[in-house]
């Protein structure tokens, strides 16, 4: 591997890990949103009954 390849590898890994973490946060947020919607639905159903 030449110097340029090492530089390319380092910067690729940095951005991949950062985007990976942001994606993990996004997935977690979506899961929480689904749970909140489910809770809202349950509360509405209980109110109606």
């Amino acid at each position: 591997m030449d110097n340029l390849s090492f530089l390319f590898a380092a910067y690729t890994i940095i951005w991949a890990v950062i985007f990976g973490y942001v994606f993990y946060l996004y997935r977690k947020q979506r899961k929480l949103q689904r749970e909140i919607d489910l809770l809202k639905e349950t509360i509405d159903k209980q109110k109606r009954d």
Binding site: M1, N3, F6, L7, A10, I14, I18, L39
Partner: protein
């Protein structure tokens, strides 16, 4: 999230975008190539800011852990947890970029040098900090265990910083403070440090608000 929070996040996001673009311009176009190491030395402009942000993260974990044990307010534990989570992402990157740089310059991916070993120990400490919560029977107990580890584990931070002065190491000393870099290099590294500091703040805010939401959903489910 309220309107003030959304505005703050948008301002931080905009600021981070501008700083990151400026940093990339400075790293790949503006700053001259270092004479001895060549183009691979440009790893330095991300490696050092990542290390700076990691150490800042663990200082923040330490402060929040002390405040949690003192006041027993869950907000401090949430902030410490978020800071450690983001900190471990950054310190993982420090170790990876360090090994890539080492392979290119020293010819080996890893050496048991004092700075490198102390950083690996720091990584293990904060990995344990995140894992310890799962072994506690209740949330408060996990928070307490983690806070103690967050305080004790911080002992390794000054060891990482001072390792290059205390022992003979292959890792170079902090060139920024010793005037070992030229003005364009200094400008580039400072802009990059600013960009990563803002990114870190933004990530901690997002992670902490997610953890608050998680606690709230859990509480509502238990009702």
């Amino acid at each position: 999230m309220n309107r003030k929070g959304i505005l703050r996040d948008n301002v931080l996001l905009g600021l981070n975008l501008v700083l990151m673009i400026a940093a990339l311009y400075l790293i790949f176009i503006y700053v001259p190539t270092e004479r001895n190491m060549g183009v691979v030395q440009r790893i330095f402009y991300f490696h050092v800011p990542l290390a700076w942000v990691s150490l800042l993260a663990f200082l923040f974990v330490f402060v929040c852990s002390v405040l949690y044990l003192w006041k027993r307010v869950i907000k401090w534990d949430t902030l410490a947890h978020a800071a450690a989570e983001v900190g471990i992402v950054f310190i993982t990157l420090v170790l990876i970029t360090g090994t890539v740089w080492a392979k290119s310059i020293w010819g080996a991916w890893w050496t048991w040098d004092a700075r490198l070993t102390a950083t690996l120990v720091l990584w293990l400490i904060y990995l344990a900090y995140l894992l310890i919560r799962n072994y506690a029977t209740e949330q408060a107990q996990g928070a307490r265990f983690a806070a103690v580890l967050g305080i004790v584990g911080f002992i390794d931070v000054p060891i990482v910083v001072l390792a290059v002065n205390l022992w003979r190491t292959q890792h170079p000393p902090a060139l920024i403070f010793e005037g070992g870099i030229t003005s364009p290099m200094l400008l580039t590294i400072l802009v990059s440090i600013a960009a990563f500091t803002v990114l870190y703040i933004l990530m901690v805010i997002q992670s902490a608000s997610m953890k608050n939401l998680e606690t709230e959903v859990k509480r509502l489910k238990d009702i």
